[in-house]
Amino acid sequence: MMFKIASSPHNHSQKKTSAIMRTVIFACIPGALAQFYFFGAGNLIHIAMACAVALFCEAFILSLRDKPVRKHLLDYSALLTAVLLGLSLPPLAPWWITVIGTAFAITVVKQLYGGLGSNPFNPAMAGYVLLLVSFPLQMTMWLPPESIQHIDLTFFDSLSVIFTGFTTEGYSVNQLRMNIDGITMATPLDTLKTDLTLGLTTAESMTKSVFGAYGGLGWEYINLGFLLGGLYMLKTGVIKWQIPVAVLGSMAFIAIGGSIIDADQAAPPMLHLFSGATMMAAFFIATDPVSASTTDKGRLIYGCLIGLLTYIIRTWGGYPDAFAFAVLLANMCVPLIDQLTQPKVYGHPARGTKQ
């Protein structure tokens, strides 16, 4: 006899795991297309490589563990991890970055803990953190968006940079990242952070070319793309509203507070919401059904924690974006959150009340 531990009510959703995972992968498409438009085909190449590595690793470990390989490969969870990791890598990162990151995410973070459903950490983000900690140089080589690049980047250029480090015309990644004046252009969040330490105010920094109308140039459309995909997932019921709303809400709340207190030194709320990985993380990463909290109240707490941690690390930490760290830290709190937010069982008095 086995008691399944799940929060009540125990009603069944008729969706299969594979259908859910497929929906999430499809919902990534608008954001991925936006990324393709602004940063070239790099991310698509990374996604393709990551998918191949993920399937190989998953099949290999499953066969070691004497599990049905075909059944588990067809639940698309490994592919989803690969897609999310591929989307979050810098577009022109070298090929071995993807291979190491995906192999670690699938074998160590997912399968060593017992496979789908047993992993306490989000595999894609743990893989990302491994890469960011181990290879900080390669993992921060973000390109400026297409409209302010002064070297045209074709599909074959992206492919060539990823595998050899140089474009077909012989430009290195660092040359691609420079503007006409030979100054390397960083991501909007990075630029703002550097400028603030140089004594510029937020308003002065945001006149630079990497900033768009309300977020980072290009990044705002990528984030809109992921927002669109996220809303589609909400509509189809694949994810619940609590986590994204809590992540975005808490982040906006703190960012507005920061702007009110010191508008010259704090990034404006819209920049926080529409730069970097915000929308993708809020809708696609934080909502991972395995590593996120499972109670409604818990989801709100979990989401708020992620928003808060991201704001703290973005503002005072050493890394330009912080979602991977925030998600992993919140993952660690999930068992505690779940235990403290157990809903009242139907027919029983609420905990702590006397009969």
């Binding site: 160590v108 491994l130 900690v133 181990s134 290879f135 140089l137 390669q138």
Partner: protein
């Protein structure tokens, strides 16, 4: 002595307590050796002394330096504890053991400061921290305080050797993964001639930082423990296959509850 042994007989599996006059049996000696190196390895089984283990095994040289220091302290403290075991009152034995260990560690620290200054600097705080290494106080308490000098010395040597072995392999794996070399900085430990020992396995512009950082030690050690368990399991299975299967002739076992 007898009352210490009887009162402190905890769950640890120990060879039979011996008196000074009784000569050691070969089986006991063999058991101490196998325990130290494999079956009760301080790192892989007892999981003791993890703090220095995780912090300094980024290269073979560091791992070797620290584990040799630990080995010397372990042997010396085991011998001393075994010598004084009959005169130390039970109530104050732990402070006495710690004093003994601390004095040996201080001597080692001064020696390293004098003869291998580079290594002394690179190991830093982890040399004095040998005092707090649970493997040492653990062996003093669990073994040396209830066995004769010879066995205690052997146990210290074997536990220290087991510790050294794991640390050096751990250091080697992390050094190869992290920076593609072996014996980097061996001259700090062994003198200028050892600078030639450095082996470059592969040249890479980017170091795999995670292997050098402490998380890398956790990952590598987890993998080691897994490998050890796999080897143990397969050996157990082989043993079982050799033994003839026991035939159970009883038909049914009826358990009668006492409450009825």
């Amino acid at each position: 002595m007898s009352d210490i042994a009887s009162e402190e007989s905890n769950d640890e599996v120990l060879p039979e307590t011996q008196t000074e006059t009784q000569p050691e049996k070969n089986a006991d000696i063999k058991k101490v050796i196998v325990d130290g190196l494999w079956k009760n390895n301080p790192v892989l089984v007892q999981l003791l002394g993890l703090c220095p283990l995780l912090a300094v095994t980024s290269t073979v040289t560091n791992a070797l330096g620290l584990s040799i220091a630990t080995l010397v302290v372990l042997v010396a403290s085991n011998v001393t504890v075994s010598l004084i075991r009959n005169w130390v009152a039970k109530e104050i034995r732990i402070p006495v053991f710690v004093m003994v260990i601390a004095s040996f560690v201080t001597s080692i620290e001064l020696l390293m400061n004098a003869y291998s200054y580079g290594l002394y600097l690179s190991l830093g705080i982890f040399i004095p921290l040998i005092v707090t290494n649970c493997a040492i106080i653990g062996r003093a308490e669990a073994f040396a305080s209830r066995n004769n000098v010879k066995m205690a010395a052997l146990d210290g040597l074997m536990m220290g050797a087991g510790f050294t072995l794991v640390l050096v392999i751990l250091g080697a794996v992390r050094e190869v993964l992290g920076q593609g070399t072996l014996f980097d900085g061996a001259d700090l430990l062994l003198g200028p001639w050892a600078a030639n020992l450095k082996i470059v396995l592969f040249q890479s512009d980017t170091h795999f930082l995670l292997a050098i950082l402490p998380p890398g030690a956790f990952f590598t050690m987890g993998a080691f423990i897994a490998v050890k368990n796999v080897i143990d399991n397969t050996m157990d299975e082989k043993k079982k296959q050799k033994e003839p299967a026991k035939t159970i002739e009883r038909v049914r076992i009826t358990k009668v509850s006492s409450e009825l």
